[in-house]
């Protein structure tokens, strides 16, 4: 379970990127965070995987206060998560295969197993034929799918995705969210930051509405 208690985040005075956000995301939830640009979706996701520290507040994941985890132990938190970044964050001088394999390599999975899992995952995002290409030779949408494959390849407990369909055509966007939904059905908690109303309407069980860093509405779980 992901629990946020009174999260405040300020990058620059006097604006608050997050303004007293409290939230509870249960295990195996499929959760959308939505709102206009600059509403705090990305900041909220970043605080959950501790790329950004909140100015105030507490975040518990399965009862553990992640703000108290020592920097050198952060990997224990991140290994349980799959993250899709808005800007993809791919390694552009490494192949698609190498990019997707990284989360498995850091936990020491055997090479044969890495090959199998990376291939299967790339097949799911329909990129297996471009496995040995460099990301720079792929389209924007394909790069996004590489980022998604990297996030799900190690079957994480929690998936955090920031605008994962932002550059995809509606059909592919649908497929990608369906993929997240499949992973969710297998038990993973999925939190997606998106402003794609169509997708949210179709898949959204739980929706959090943000505006200027404040929660302005919730649907689904209280």
């Amino acid at each position: 379970m992901i629990e946020l208690f009174h999260i405040w985040k300020q990058y620059q005075k006097p604006f608050w990127a997050l303004n007293d956000v409290s939230l509870q995301i249960k295990d195996s939830d499929f959760y959308f965070i939505t709102g206009p640009s600059g509403s705090g979706k990305t900041t909220l996701l970043k605080t959950i995987f501790r790329e950004t520290l909140p100015t105030e507040g507490q975040i518990l994941i399965n009862g553990v206060n992640i703000l108290k985890i020592h920097d050198s132990r952060i990997y224990t938190l991140r290994r349980r998560m799959g993250i899709v970044f808005q800007d993809f964050r791919l390694m552009f001088h490494r192949t698609v295969f190498e990019n997707v394999a990284v989360p498995l390599q850091v936990i020491g999975v055997a090479r044969k197993e890495i090959r199998r899992r990376v291939f299967n995952t790339l097949q799911k995002v329909n990129l297996h034929q471009k496995m040995w290409e460099l990301p720079s030779r792929l389209s924007y949408g394909e790069q996004q799918r590489v980022a998604i494959a990297r996030a799900v390849v190690n079957n994480p407990e929690i998936i955090l995705a920031d605008e994962p369909t932002g550059n995809l055509d509606p059909e592919l966007a649908f497929e990608i969210i369906s993929l997240f939904k499949d992973i969710n059905r297998q038990g993973a908690t999925v939190v997606i930051g998106s402003h794609d109303r169509e997708l949210i309407r179709h898949f959204g069980d739980n929706i959090l509405f943000l505006q200027k860093g404040k929660i302005v509405g919730k649907e689904g779980h209280p």
């Binding site: 991140r78 290994r79 990284v102 989360p103 999975v109 990297r150």
Partner: protein, 298 residues
């Protein structure tokens, strides 16, 4: 574990290849540094070996007055043979001395043939046993003999042994000094090359952190890079050292004349070669580790 080792090695290989220009530059600097150390080391090896050779083969020659009576020569011969450190004593007649000179310097044969009288005096040659060589007892004995009537000159190669040992120490010290400065340069160059590599891979490091890498996992490839650069540099310097050792006598040997023997290079022994290699690896590792811990906030 094996998978991780394979992964690190392949990552290190990729990284070295990716930034090959700057890596070649740093390998060249390391190579030149270690080559300097190696050249002085092999020069010092030769001087040390020459000094050892001389001291194990220490002789004293007492040149005798031409007018010295035969009985006095016999008495001196017996007296010279008495001390315990003497291994052998031999009387060298003027004819033997002339013959020895002729054999040693064949190019001066014409001069020797043209001589009206034999200019060489008789001498007594004493060989010191190896245990006592260069001991104070021998030196004192030789000094006491210098003032004996009938002894015109004394030639003792202990001075040469001391000179060789001095030269050897000097060559070692110059090598250590210059090598030290160059090693320091290598250290800074590796450190800066790794720093540039860290900056160039900031994005990748960030990604590795976000997907759950440990700090060690991020650092190891950089450490390995430093070690490989250092090892390659020192290995190359060993190869070049062997080339220098082989080519030096061909190109400069004959022009050095009498200095040829002293300026001869001797191959470093196995321990010294291993020392150079380990030194390279250590320089690379320390340079890289310093840079990584300073510029990589993990």
């Amino acid at each position: 574990m094996i998978e991780k080792v394979k992964f690190f090695l392949s990552l290190t290989g990729n990284n070295l290849w990716q930034f090959r220009t700057r890596n070649i530059f740093s390998v060249t600097i390391i190579c030149l540094s270690f080559l300097t150390v190696g050249i002085f080391m092999s020069l010092s090896n030769n001087l040390r070996a020459t000094a050892r050779e001389l001291s194990s083969n220490m002789t004293v020659a007492f040149y005798l007055d031409k007018g010295m009576p035969a009985a006095a020569v016999d008495a001196l011969h017996r007296e010279v043979g008495k001390p315990a450190f003497v291994e052998s004593v031999r009387m060298v007649t003027p004819e033997e001395a002339l013959e020895k000179f002729r054999l040693s310097f064949p190019e001066l044969a014409d001069i020797v043939t043209g001589l009206k009288a034999n200019p060489f005096p008789a001498s007594i040659e004493l060989r010191v046993n190896s245990k006592a060589s260069a001991s104070g007892e021998v030196v004192a004995f030789v000094d006491s003999m210098k003032t004996r009537p009938g002894v015109t000159d004394v030639q003792f190669n202990q001075d040469w042994v001391e000179k060789m040992q001095g030269f050897s120490r000097l060559a070692g010290a110059i090598g250590a000094f210059m090598g030290g400065i160059l090693l320091l340069t290598s250290f800074f160059i590796i450190s800066n090359v790794v720093k540039l590599n860290v900056f160039a891979r900031k994005n990748e490091i960030e990604i590795l952190r976000l997907v759950g890498s440990t700090n060690l996992f991020i650092r190891i490839p950089f450490w390995l890079e430093g070690i490989v650069l250092g090892l390659l540099g020192s290995l190359l310097s060993l190869g070049l050292l062997f080339v220098v050792i082989n080519l030096f006598p061909i190109y400069l040997g004959s022009s050095l004349g009498a200095l040829q023997e002293l300026l001869r290079f001797r191959y470093p022994d196995l321990t010294q070669a291993a020392g150079l290699l380990l030194g390279g690896a250590a320089t690379g590792f320390v340079g890289s580790a310093t840079s990584v811990s300073k510029f990589l906030k993990v």
